[in-house]
Amino acid sequence: MAKAATKKTKSNADDYLRMYRQMVRIRTFEDNANQLYLSAKMPGLTHMYSGEEAVAVGICEALTDDDRITSTHRGHGHCVAKGAEFKEMFCELLGKAEGYCRGKGGSMHIADQSHGNLGANAIVGGSMGIATGSALRAKLQGSDDVTVCFFGDGATAQGLWYEVMNMAALWKLPVIYACENNGYSEYTKTEEIAAGSIMARAEAFGIESHQVDGQDVLAVNELTQKLVARARKGEGPFFMELMTYRYHGHHVGDINREYYRSKDEEKDWKDNRDPIIRFRAYLVEQGIATEEEIEAMNAEIETDAAEAVAYAEKAPYPPANEVDMHVYAD
């Protein structure tokens, strides 16, 4: 909060409110998804984005629908932030035909073509090539869109990243590598799996790199706006390391996790650095919204989510004949 408050305020209250709204939408989406898992209504497992909302929202609010993102196994936040609707998202999570991918992708492959989300990916680091290739296409075709590649701290151990950074730097591609450093990959602390400095790795390829407080949506958004504008002009690529935290376990089933991280640590992040609480206080402080308005917005989002969940639960599965459809495009 303190930090957000020190940022230069923006006059555009609508932008701020939309950012707040999007963060709450993500949190609410995840709470419902978790609930679906706990009540055994959701097939498989899923990875919650709660706690990291300022990252996805701060970045995606600096993008247009023409700009692309690639997402991760922890992808609901990116999907919401890039403009997706609850209904199609919940349908996808439940494997229903009205899902974004007709239920064929599920949580780990949710994609939303119409808003430029090229999809979540169940291979850690698996979308680094895709994002960079999207940027290569933009450059070759003289298009000024920018692609943001989201990935976690753990994904920095994948050799693919170094290969694509090298090409992005050589060819000045309009891609921004956004590393969501939440301190853990699965059940392991980042410092146990990352030698040296992650920032220095990007810098070694001549890529301008920034570390930013991932719990401060305005800080993230301002930096991203600047970098996106520069990337559009051919000054990319860029690297951003966003310091953040996931509130839940690695996935919804990771409940007993004290062997790898303490409850105190979790409590500290939740109580003292929550991106939504911080930004809400800021909005009220700056007179951009009243507590009442915010409560109303929250309530509205909760209703939206509940309705979408109810809709998705009742929605039909894809018919059996879709099983061998879409293997090949015409």
Binding site: P43, G44, L45, G95, K96, C101, R102, G103, K104, G105, G106, S107, M108, H109, N121, A122, I123, V124, G125, G126, G154, A155, A157, Q158, G159, S185, E186, Y187, T188, E192, I193, A194, Y259, Y260, Y317, P318, A320, E322, V323, D324, V327
Partner: protein
């Protein structure tokens, strides 16, 4: 005999071999304190320490490469690859490096390593966490490939794999980790290349790998009620393949279905069916049928996913047709 889960069986095999041979060590993601996401390795780091149960970064090509180098210079690494779908990432290290060292060096270098990984759909894990990719590695000379069908096989094959002087890939079915089976307290090994006749029968041979053995056994029970006696055989290792046992059975039954959870086309079932056709052709009363997974990426939706894998009912239907001679001039 006591019953233990497949997960415990693998754990025991590793613990026993690590006690026996101090050059054996484990390498992989979250294998130590976490004991893997499937908890198969729980307790090992407590007994053997972090020098022998080593957590790696998420660098599959890298740590498989490390295993190859360690194996070439005197250690016996067991690599844990969290999902079989990640085998694509390590194909170069596995197939260009590990598989070929012994041959390329004219017999001077050896790569005694084990790659444990898994396979199997219907866990609602979607297209990149549900594949059964045994056919890919079975195609590459220099690799051995084991597919345990129960806790008993999982333990015996793992111990043999660790003592083998070649790179061995073991595919465990991730849906079977909690399945229990009788496993002796005493030490035993299961030699590679020895198929196991799970059930005798005279009318048709069902050759099945991994979890498909259960599918075949269920089908056999159903078929028995109709008076069709199915013989169920588990090859246990697909490289080397115990051709003899398979051929003997089919000579007797004159009919066969081969069942494997990998995609059907260009898959494991094609090789086994081809060998039967080539070598006992004149004993066959009907074409050898293959049942693999559908040739589609594994869909997330439960409504679709369940349609993609062979089922006991499907096996029964095919067996019935074969025995009734209905497959004549199918084409």
């Amino acid at each position: 005999m006591r019953e233990i889960t497949l997960s415990q069986a693998v754990n025991e095999a590793l613990a026993e071999e690590m006690r026996r041979d101090e050059t054996v060590f484990i390498l992989g993601e979250d294998v130590a304190e976490a004991g893997t996401p499937f908890k198969v390795l729980s307790g090992l780091v407590e007994e053997f320490g972090t020098d022998r149960v080593i957590d790696t970064p998420i660098s599959e090509p890298g740590f498989v490469g490390l295993a190859v180098g360690a194996a070439m210079t005197g250690a016996r690494p067991v690599v844990d690859l969290m999902f079989g779908d990640f085998i694509y990432l390590v194909m170069d290290q596995l197939c260009n490096q590990a598989a070929k060292q012994h041959y390329m060096s004219g017999g001077k270098l050896q790569v005694p390593m084990v790659l444990r990984t898994n396979m199997g759909a219907t866990r609602r894990s979607a297209a990149q966490h549900s594949q059964s990719l045994q056919a890919l590695v079975a195609h590459i000379p220099g690799l051995k490939v084991a597919m345990p069908s129960s806790a008993y096989e999982a333990k015996g094959l793992m111990k043999t794999a660790i003592r083998d002087n070649n790179p061995v890939v073991i595919f465990e079915d991730k849906l079977m980790y909690q399945d229990k089976a009788p496993v002796p307290e005493e030490e035993y090994l299961i030699p590679f290349g020895e198929a196991n006749v799970k059930r005798e029968g005279r009318d048709i041979t069902l050759i099945a790998t991994s979890s498909m053995v259960q599918v075949a056994e269920k089908a056999a029970v159903m078929l028995a009620k109709e008076g069709i006696e199915a013989e169920v055989i588990d090859p246990r290792t697909i490289v080397p393949l115990d051709e003899e046992t398979l051929l003997e059975s089919v000579k007797k039954t004159s009919r066969a279905i081969v069942i494997d959870e990998g995609h059907q086309s260009y898959g494991v079932t094609a090789e086994i069916a081809s060998r039967l056709n080539e070598k006992v052709f004149y004993h066959l009363d009907a074409p050898v049928l293959r049942m693999g997974a559908m040739d589609v990426p594994v869909p997330f939706s439960p409504a679709l996913e369940d349609l993609t894998v062979p089922t006991p009912e499907g096996v029964v239907e095919n067996a019935r047709k074969l025995c009734a001679g209905e497959m004549i001039h199918a084409a």
